[in-house]
Symmetry: C3
Subunit: 129 residues, 3 copies
């Protein structure tokens, strides 16, 4: 079983869910009514934070789980925790202004890359042995 990876998965979902809540809040604060997705820079940034987090979920979650299954539950969960931290830094930075989205983005991208490379290496090793 991969209890730690399961826990990190649920926490990552909670963070992602919070980015959606933030879009709804921003809709109210800026007066951009559904189904419009633009019209105020604050709302557009809140929406992009959610969208970018969504865009990375199919990179992060499968890489996390293949890493956990093929390599190590504890290490997968530790790198997954770094991904969550990077996403929080991204959220806070991008909420202030678009130019401040870089550092958090880089942290979560490196964590995702580490999971993907580790999983690929472990899968390739198994296929070769």
């Amino acid at each position: 079983m991969h209890h730690l990876t399961a826990l990190v998965t649920l926490l990552a979902i909670a963070l992602y869910f919070y980015t959606s809540i933030n879009v709804s809040r921003s809709r109210v604060a800026t007066g951009v009514k559904a189904p419009a997705m633009s019209g105020h820079p604050d709302f557009e940034r809140a929406f992009r934070i959610q969208m970018n987090t969504l865009e990375w979920m199919p990179i992060f979650l499968p890489s996390l789980w293949l890493f956990a299954i093929y390599f190590s539950d504890a290490i997968a969960a530790a790198i997954g925790a770094v991904w969550i931290i990077g996403r929080i830094v991204y959220f806070i930075g991008y909420s202030k202004e678009a130019a401040k989205r870089g550092p958090g983005f880089a942290i979560q991208a490196m964590a995702s890359l580490a999971l993907w490379i580790g999983a690929l290496g472990a899968v390739a090793w198994r296929l070769a042995h």
Copy 2:
């Protein structure tokens, strides 16, 4: 094995796929040509129905499966069926007008929350024992 959860997963995918088909149909009906994603309120609502369903897939599917694996296949599938019903209600309501998207959204959000909380509780229990 988790046959019922697998079945609900495939049905949820079918519903989600139908929301994309509906966007293509709406493109033809409203004359909004790709790659434009706005220009007619009917098209924008059809697009938002698909997008919102997409946005919830990474919340729903991992929560559903962790609930099924850590707790119960049958209960996970039953709550997953409620999620699908909520999504159908949301689809029908939001297709009529943006103000009617609330009830279906609430049903699927509560189903997702039940799966997430159940999975978190079961994972936390295993980690503690």
Copy 3:
């Protein structure tokens, strides 16, 4: 274990990731600054390629894995490889002009449908026996 399906999953993620890189590049080339998601047709097509690939990930990946688990790792991986090829054809075609997105789209849609139908049949057979 499902080593071949794991490998195809990681390659599909790499392709999807490349569609995001392409959006970032297109932002620089066309001068559309974040958080704006429109303003130049080349950028809008690059964004739609990424979005459409994202939109199909929750159809493709769960169908691929349920097919692999319930039916065959090797056949799942082979159909998954067809999906990746269809996505590459789609990427190249849509990058040129919106009207050229059809053939690649059809290939990946048929591969996804084959995985979904195969998985549904195998799950239904297990539930009935």
